[in-house]
Symmetry: C2
Subunit: 433 residues, 2 copies
């Protein structure tokens, strides 16, 4: 499809480039060109003379920008949303989550992932960094709907294996332009030393970064110290796990030494503020990370712990929690947080072609409604987005050049009601049987 | 207008009453009846035989519930949204807010309030507890749009007076069914002792509760201790200010003795979590208040400090921040927070007729879209609302029996674009001149 998005305000998220009026042209899955109109956009006829557009969309002076990157999630946990809340993390995992997850089939995960994808689209999320059981099922759901997904293995003592991880890694980095696969494991506390050593070796073989849940709770850190006499980051690094970089999900309880490792290895912190509040895990020292130059990306975590998949809420929290933690209302301003939720997310996930709006980049973009009252007046668009934005501002979500969501309607191959129905059947069987 | 809302799920917010299927009938500004259909709703013809409906609205199995009560706001501060962020409270007030506010005319406040009202409607807020300059202008804007508003005086050394407060009190408690007026003042630190004594006397004359900003920052509390040797709550109570109860906005830094006063006087805490994060004021000990039986209501604070007027974000924060503050993931569950945002809000504002859905109560209600992906599956509706809900779930907002907002469209006497235009003219003149 050749799509012309005209009469727009444009925030490319390129460094130091302010919002301007213009057009974005999409051909196939890529951005073919970006037109900066200055004060007045040129006549339509002069532009369209060379190209046959399949669709010309009047953006009505709304904002085009790169889609949000949800840099940590477990999509299929939709089946537990609002089922198991208000309990601490370890109890939540051991008594609520793990026993029910054990009953999920591969097909269940396929359908439950689809429910999450619908919600990502309503929140302007154009790619997800997905860790869950059955990566194959998640990948297939994303392909079938048109969602961009970077898988990472949730390898642990009970599910998957080094061999399976390698097979998935090889398959999903060449199967579909929508899917990539990065090496990962669930966490230090769910993996034996042997398993971790095996993964570190695999990372060495392919020169790949590795991602994992890290320092999410104080208990996790204490447990690792007891087992190995080191914090999780130090222990894992001592195995050579991060020889080619990688990242940690959560990173709420990090020591100076842990941060030094992240700094030295060029690793990403993926912060998940809503989940950390809801499970009472703590408030991550995000300002410290950024002061050290450690890149921070933002994730929702899964819908069982958050419980929504809403990057607007996460962005407000990254800034607001940092301000209250540092006792400094100037901490982590809106522009910095918006960068985390877009450019840094792409960096963490290895999506170098989906970071900003520019000619040649992947056409993963969103249209933000500036005509809603929460976006008025327009003193400062990044501040409006981070401090005041909501899902209700998402007019359109485009991934890989396809409009998957527009004005409340989905174009994902089947109706939302069909997806709900299938998920509710699963819930009935798994949770209430 | 006689309006029949049928094919709904209904959450009345009456104590211990679960969600049921049914209908809500509205006549004039009141709820005329609520029908619990049990498993199957009766035939339409049998119901409508006695009444001529002006409108019959199919709720499509979505949720009817009481509207949210925004129990603390400064509506007209819309003009500063995203203008003066990322600075601490006192600096923010003194260098950014006060100098620009001094330039606002009564008419400016009228128009700027209207912008806020549009946003309240998109967030399912059906009444506001409003403190700002020119209460008359705010009241008129609300009347003209159909919004329910409880005014409280922002009395301080620089604006308003005891006499003006008394005049407003008498006028606005008898002028319009949409408006009520409670006694109040800006804060201890902006009022002389004489002024405060005068207001306490006025409260005694009319047996009225009194509302104020209280213990918002640690500096405020320290300042009062220096001036009077007491915390603000203790000092104000010593003047007889709370002889007939009242409430405190924010209440982030409260002593045991302060809480004892609230307890003894039957006073309300109105918590404003997003504003307290954004201005780095702190995290209020809300769980302590509820354990002591002090009723807590929820407010957004004004759009210059928050910056959005979104009760969904506030509700998540009340619960999430309490969990992380108390290091207890079970702290303040969703049902309790939903009660705060509806029933307790009505209590704090003195709106005894707008608390729950019941025959005879004011028809202030909202329709929540349960067919959005963030509301699926439906394990638990209150948890879905508090942990996962967003503005995007508001299908309809009705105040005093009038539908003011439905499916993204406003019915408030003029178009949203006209309101934006007038506000942008004011911004241009006040902020950028």
């Amino acid at each position: 499809m050749n799509i012309r998005l005209y009469n727009a305000q444009i925030l490319t998220m390129e460094k130091n480039r302010p919002v301007f009026r213009g057009e974005v042209w999409v051909k196939g899955g890529r951005i073919a060109g970006i037109l900066d109109c200055g004060a007045e956009c040129p006549n339509v006829d002069n532009i369209t003379v060379e190209t046959r557009w399949d669709l010309e969309l009047d953006c009505e002076e709304n904002l085009l920008m790169p889609g949000f990157k949800d840099a940590h999630t477990h999509s299929a946990m939709t089946f537990l949303r609002s089922y198991a809340d208000d309990v601490p993390l370890q109890q939540w995992l051991n008594t609520k989550v793990f026993p029910l997850e054990a009953r999920l089939s591969r097909e269940d995960i396929y359908h439950l992932t689809k429910l999450a994808v619908l919600e990502y689209l309503t929140s302007g999320i154009t790619s997800i960094f997905e860790m869950y059981l059955s990566p194959d099922a998640a990948a297939e759901a994303c392909i079938d709907m048109g969602m961009r997904c970077v898988l990472t293995s949730g390898l642990n003592n009970f599910t998957s294996s080094i061999e399976q991880t390698e097979t998935e890694y090889l398959k999903w980095n060449s199967e579909s332009e929508l899917i990539r696969y990065r090496l990962g494991f669930h966490s230090e506390y769910t993996c034996s030393r042997e398993l971790l050593e095996g993964l570190a070796k695999l990372a060495g073989k392919y020169h790949e970064p590795v991602y994992t849940h890290l320092a999410e709770t104080a208990e996790e850190v204490e447990g690792c110290k007891k087992r190995y006499g080191m914090t999780p980051a130090v222990f894992l690094d001592s195995l050579g796990m991060f020889a080619y970089g990688g990242g940690g999900y959560h990173c709420v309880h990090m020591s100076e030494q842990d941060m030094d490792i992240f700094d030295r290895r060029g690793m990403y912190v993926v912060t998940n503020p809503a989940s950390n509040l809801k499970l009472a895990s703590g408030i991550a020292p995000v300002a410290e990370y950024t002061e050290r130059g450690i890149p921070v990306a933002v994730g929702t975590d899964g819908p069982a712990s958050n419980n929504c998949l809403d990057m607007f809420r996460e962005m407000f929290l990254v800034s607001g929690l940092s301000k209250v933690r540092e006792k400094d209302a100037a901490s982590l301003d809106a522009a910095e947080v918006l960068h985390m939720a877009t450019v840094n997310g792409a960096g963490a996930m290895g999506l170098s072609q989906a970071d900003v709006l520019a000619a040649g980049r992947q056409a993963d973009l969103i249209l933000i409604d500036l005509h809603q009252p929460n976006m008025q007046p327009v003193h400062n668009i990044p501040k409006n987005l981070v401090y005041s934005g909501s899902k209700a501002n998402i007019r359109m979500t485009m991934i890989n050049g396809r409009i998957l969501y527009r004005d409340g309607n989905f174009d994902v191959g089947e109706s939302r009601e069909e997806i709900y129905e299938r998920c509710n059947e699963i819930v009935k069987r798994i949770v209430y049987a």
